[in-house]
């Protein structure tokens, strides 16, 4: 095969072609935490399951209906989090994964957030089952976009990743892509975070 000028880095290509830790059969996998995120309207959906011992992630599996970036970044993420404490894995950011992959085109960053969202959902599930609800951060976050379930915290992340206008914010979070009613509120929150971090 010709390997020159591929759309993505060699590392992305490797993970795309040979994704690690794919969930084979959920019936046979004893998981401690289960998370599913995404929306088929936007063309991606992610399922992430984890095994946990003494607050350490011992094994993970995942599945996706998604593009190359979603596949590669989740594959990489699945390697990174094994052996990690729940707390550390919970706070892994999409940028960490993208960096570990050697970068993704800007347009594809938004596809890579799916994996860590699903992972966080799986950890939330674990926390909930083990009476550790106080650790669930999303509960404190406020949902801004009801259609796509995007919170003010997601907007904060997007600003940190470079969103400075509504269109970019939409690309990164998928916020406001269905009914669009949240646009004004989202813009105000985005401005607040830009001011907080960058002005």
């Amino acid at each position: 095969m010709s390997d020159s000028n591929w759309v993505y880095t060699e590392n992305v290509k490797d993970h795309f072609m040979n994704p690690r830790n794919i969930l084979d059969n959920i019936e046979e996998y004893k998981y401690d935490g289960y998370g599913k995120t995404g929306n088929i309207q936007c063309g991606d959906e992610m399922l992430f399951v984890i095994q946990v011992k003494d607050n350490i992630i011992t094994d993970v599996k995942w599945k996706t209906y998604g593009c190359a970036s979603a596949i590669a970044s989740t594959s990489k993420l699945s390697e990174m989090v094994v052996g990690m404490s729940l707390d550390k894995a919970y706070h892994i950011s999409p940028q960490d994964v993208v960096k570990a992959l050697g970068g993704l085109p800007d347009k594809k960053i938004h596809c890579s957030v799916l994996g860590d969202r699903a992972l966080r959902a799986a950890i939330d599930d674990y926390y909930r089952k083990h009476g550790m609800d106080d650790k669930i951060e999303a509960q404190n976050a406020k949902v801004v976009c009801n259609c796509m379930n995007v919170t003010d915290k997601d907007i904060e992340d997007a600003v940190l990743e470079g969103a400075r206008d509504f269109k970019t914010l939409q690309e990164m979070t998928k916020l406001g892509t269905v009914c669009g009613e949240c646009k004004d509120e989202a813009l105000t929150i985005m401005e607040e975070y830009i001011e907080k971090y960058f002005d």
Partner: protein, 395 residues
């Protein structure tokens, strides 16, 4: 399995025909400005006009009804922007905000242009299509009857699904209501016969690079007597209808490409239809849960659009690319926007089908070996992606 490079994206663009290349290389030193009166200019003018006639003949037009433009997109922009012209000569009906009617499956060069005009200098209405991509004529007639329209623009053949409209019937309907009719024939030209007189269209768009000619050159047919004013001002070229020194080399490449189409298109159409049917039957046989999108009969011969349940199109495209096979997809992820194919959605299929759609577009260089290679390669790719997919297979 050995690696092959297989190009099945001819609706995106085509490789240069060897005869076109040879002709263009031979004429590469023809640098004169066709507008100059001296011999250098006259030599270039002669070539430009010779090829204008070849292209005009190809669609049964007169040479003075053809203007050369930079692309099919420019031709489409030029026609639709007539509605925005402040000059009386083109705002033919004296309408303040003239109505434009187009379809939901047009190329972005039409859809984005009317979107920009909509509400400002024009009002736009969109005709729906049925599940096979055919325009709903009843709906079009209702729109025409309700209010005087200025221009109706309906593509001859769709680039994504290949569906061919009955342009003669649509043009007759549009003229019955005293509107002008434009058709973007970029995907149809060189694949089916075009006759602007028989079809009775007012404007028609052509592009060279879809028919094995060079990029950067298109043509617009403007029926004699139809009001017109240019999109690009600044010179008297093209009888004042499009300023800018003619792209002589592009024009003669375009003309040669048309000449080759005249010779090759009939037999090639038969051959490509056979290959497409083989590809279609093979995929349906080897891969479950697929859906072919497009018209069963009225479809350009080499275009096959097929949707794979449970898998996302960009992943399929890139796995095929790693095996050397070039296709395109209606998935949002490959478009850079977050919207999946507007054409697939317009046929009534849902977003999952649109995200999982793959377009194979065959061309003059496509061989049966290549189709066999795709049929050997594709099922494994779909199987691999479905294995890691969160989606249940429906239907």
């Amino acid at each position: 399995m050995s690696y092959k490079r297989v190009y099945l994206d001819h609706n995106a663009t085509t490789p240069i025909h060897p005869e076109v290349k040879k002709y263009m290389v031979d004429k590469f030193d023809l640098f004169g400005n066709p507008s100059s009166m001296h011999e250098f200019g006259r030599e270039a003018r002669q070539e430009v006009e010779k090829n204008r006639k070849i292209i005009a003949d190809f669609i049964n037009a007169s040479p003075d009804e053809i203007i050369f433009v930079g692309s099919g997109s420019e031709a489409n922009n030029t026609v639709l922007s007539l509605s925005a012209c402040p000059l009386k000569s083109c705002n033919i009906k004296g309408l303040i905000k003239p109505k434009l009617i187009t379809s939901r499956i047009e190329h972005p060069a039409v859809l984005e242009t009317v979107k920009c005009l909509n509400g400002k200098s024009a009002e736009v209405e969109y005709v729906d299509v049925d599940s096979q991509g055919k325009i709903k004529l009843d709906q079009l007639e209702a729109m025409l009857r309700k209010e005087q329209a200025l221009i109706v623009s309906i593509m001859t053949a769709n680039n994504e699904i290949g569906t061919i409209q009955n342009i003669k019937e649509i043009a007759a309907l549009v003229h019955q209501y005293q509107a002008y009719f434009h058709t973007d024939a970029v995907q149809a030209a060189g694949k089916i016969d075009i006759d602007v007189k028989d079809w009775d269209v007012d404007f028609l768009t052509l592009s060279a690079h879809k028919i094995y000619g060079p990029k950067g050159i298109g043509a617009l047919y403007i029926k004699k007597g139809v009001p017109f004013c240019p999109l690009i001002y600044g010179g008297h070229q093209e009888e004042g209808r499009r300023a800018g020194t003619e792209n002589s080399l592009g024009i003669l490449g375009f003309g040669k490409a048309v000449e080759m189409r005249k010779i090759e298109m009939k037999d090639e159409g038969i051959r490509l239809l056979k290959l497409k049917n083989k590809l279609k039957a093979g995929i349906i046989e080897k891969v479950s849960h697929t859906k072919v999108v497009g018209h069963e009969k009225d479809c350009i011969p080499g275009t096959l659009n097929i949707s794979f349940e449970g898998v996302e199109g960009e992943s399929i495209l890139l796995y095929l690319d790693l095996m050397g096979i070039a296709v395109s997809t209606g998935s949002a992820c490959s478009s850079g926007s977050l919207e999946p194919s507007h054409v697939i959605l317009a046929t009534g299929l849902d977003a999952e089908f649109a995200h999982g759609s793959i377009r194979f577009s065959l061309g003059r260089d496509t061989t049966e070996d290549e189709i066999d290679y795709v049929l050997d390669t594709l099922p494994g790719i779909i199987g691999k992606l479905r294995k890691m997919s969160t989606r249940e297979l429906r239907s």
